[in-house]
């Protein structure tokens, strides 16, 4: 819809089509981050509107959990977004993707948030843990 209406889409966006958000294994998203994706957006049909009846009900639980877990993995939660856009909402889609790409551009390359001195600090923590010394 967005395409046939010739709406503008960001050029650095890669669309991966899947039959249903119910197919979105959270590991696909994590794998994308591990392979260097700077941001991942999941967009599906509105809950209640699923062609397979319940795919997106399952999906929203998994995706929300992933969203909450990203900070623990060390991935900025702003790099991930999930939303519901139906096939007929072309202009909404265009808005969602351009907002998201702007956000990712502001965050920069994945790993940009890792402070240069953090590796050295982490090393020290690891050492403390490995020797079992109390860090008092």
């Amino acid at each position: 819809m967005a395409g046939t209406a010739r709406m503008k889409q960001p050029g650095d966006l890669r669309v991966i089509r899947l039959p249903c958000t119910g197919r979105v294994n959270p590991l696909l998203i994590l794998k994308a981050f591990m392979e260097g994706a700077d941001g991942v957006l999941v967009s599906g049909c509105h809950p209640g509107d699923c062609h397979y009846n319940v795919g997106n009900y399952h999906a929203r639980r998994r995706l929300e959990l992933l969203q909450r877990m990203l900070p623990a993995f060390g991935i900025d939660p702003g790099r991930f977004h999930y939303t519901w856009v139906s096939a007929s909402e072309g202009s909404r889609w265009a808005g969602v993707v351009s907002d998201f790409t702007r956000r990712i551009e502001a965050l920069g390359k994945i790993g940009a948030e890792v402070p240069a001195n953090a590796l050295a600090k982490a090393e020290q923590t690891a050492m403390t843990d490995a020797t079992g010394k109390t860090t008092s």
Binding site: L27, M34, H46, A72, F73, D76, A122, D129
Partner: protein
């Protein structure tokens, strides 16, 4: 003869097999044991070095009657295994032991040398004959455990605002205080030490996929067997994801890790998120519906729906 031994012998008469412990590990600490006869069971013990969660063996014993000695935390794994139909509740006889806490044996040996003599009468802990501070060497999970039977009737309240005596608890606090970028650096540093032994997976009672585990499939190729930071990181992401809503926080993954990667930081974080989202804890109710295998049409209205 101890009460435990006679209970095991009674169960043995019905099942012909009981999983328990004997004091045959290095330095006299507990080692897991399979008892088949009353005579074999005479060496059964339970003490603070009985750290292992023996329920990890149950899925492979499915179909036969079995007795198992279990701490409260191990019992949660059994409940979860029954909920997931990996264990037949009718076939398992649980011999639940009450415990004060269990020890971080590796931490003691890192400090005092491998095989150092550990003596524990339930309140005073001695290593090589010298009394040592107990709280420093108790497994972190025990310090939070609701089923812990206090060693002293009143317990020992930790003054608020004071630093935890336990290094593992301290690490938990440090991790919470890190920025998201610092955490990525922290994990990469940790994973750099991973030797891909898969002990974290093997020790986990809920990781029972065995030969069909996606960590070793080549198509799709989620992660290879390479010993490097990137593959180790992906491996842990898989583990965390596959344990969502199923991890009972038994702590075995981290305890089994030979290089001391604090894997429980991630499991705890996920368990907390699941409790917040679904008011659910794994291993409590064998009839409960796992939160990620079900959904709620009206509720769960995340992202503005």
């Amino acid at each position: 003869m101890s009460e435990l031994v006679s209970t095991i012998q009674k169960v043995l008469a019905e099942t012909g097999l009981v999983l328990g412990w004997s004091a045959t590990g290095a330095g006299g600490v507990a080692a897991p044991e399979r008892f088949h006869t009353a005579e074999e069971a005479e060496v059964a013990i339970f003490d603070s070095t009985c750290v292992h969660n023996l329920s990890v063996h149950l899925p492979r014993l499915k179909g036969r009657a079995v007795g198992i000695v279990a701490k409260a935390c191990d019992a949660r794994s059994i409940v979860e295994l029954i909920a997931e139909r990996e264990v037949d509740g009718d076939q398992v006889r649980v011999i639940e032991v009450s415990c004060t806490d269990t020890l971080d044996v590796k931490a003691i040996w890192r400090r005092y040398g491998y095989g150092a003599l550990i003596e524990d009468d339930g309140s005073e802990l001695r290593v090589n004959g010298e009394p040592v501070e107990r709280e420093a060497f108790v497994q972190a999970k025990c310090l939070d455990c609701e089923d812990r039977q206090p060693a002293t009737p009143a317990g020992k309240p930790v003054p608020s605002g004071s630093k935890p005596a336990n290094a593992r608890q301290q690490l938990r606090e440090d991790f919470q205080a890190m920025s998201v970028g610092e955490r990525r650096a922290f994990w990469r540093e940790q994973y750099a030490r991973c030797i891909r032994c898969h002990a974290c997976r093997e020790a986990c009672p809920m990781c029972y996929c065995r030969d069909v585990c996606i960590m070793q499939t080549t198509d799709p190729h989620w992660t290879g067997g390479g010993i490097n930071t990137a593959e180790a990181e992906m491996m842990q992401l898989i583990r965390v994801n596959h344990l969502a809503g199923r991890c009972t926080a038994c702590g075995e993954c981290e305890r089994a890790c030979p290089v001391g990667i604090p894997l429980m930081l991630l499991m705890e974080e996920q368990n907390r998120a699941i409790e917040e989202m679904f008011d659910y804890r794994a291993g409590v109710d064998p009839e409960a519906k796992p939160p990620l295998l079900t959904f709620d049409i009206k509720g769960d209205s995340w992202d503005g729906e």
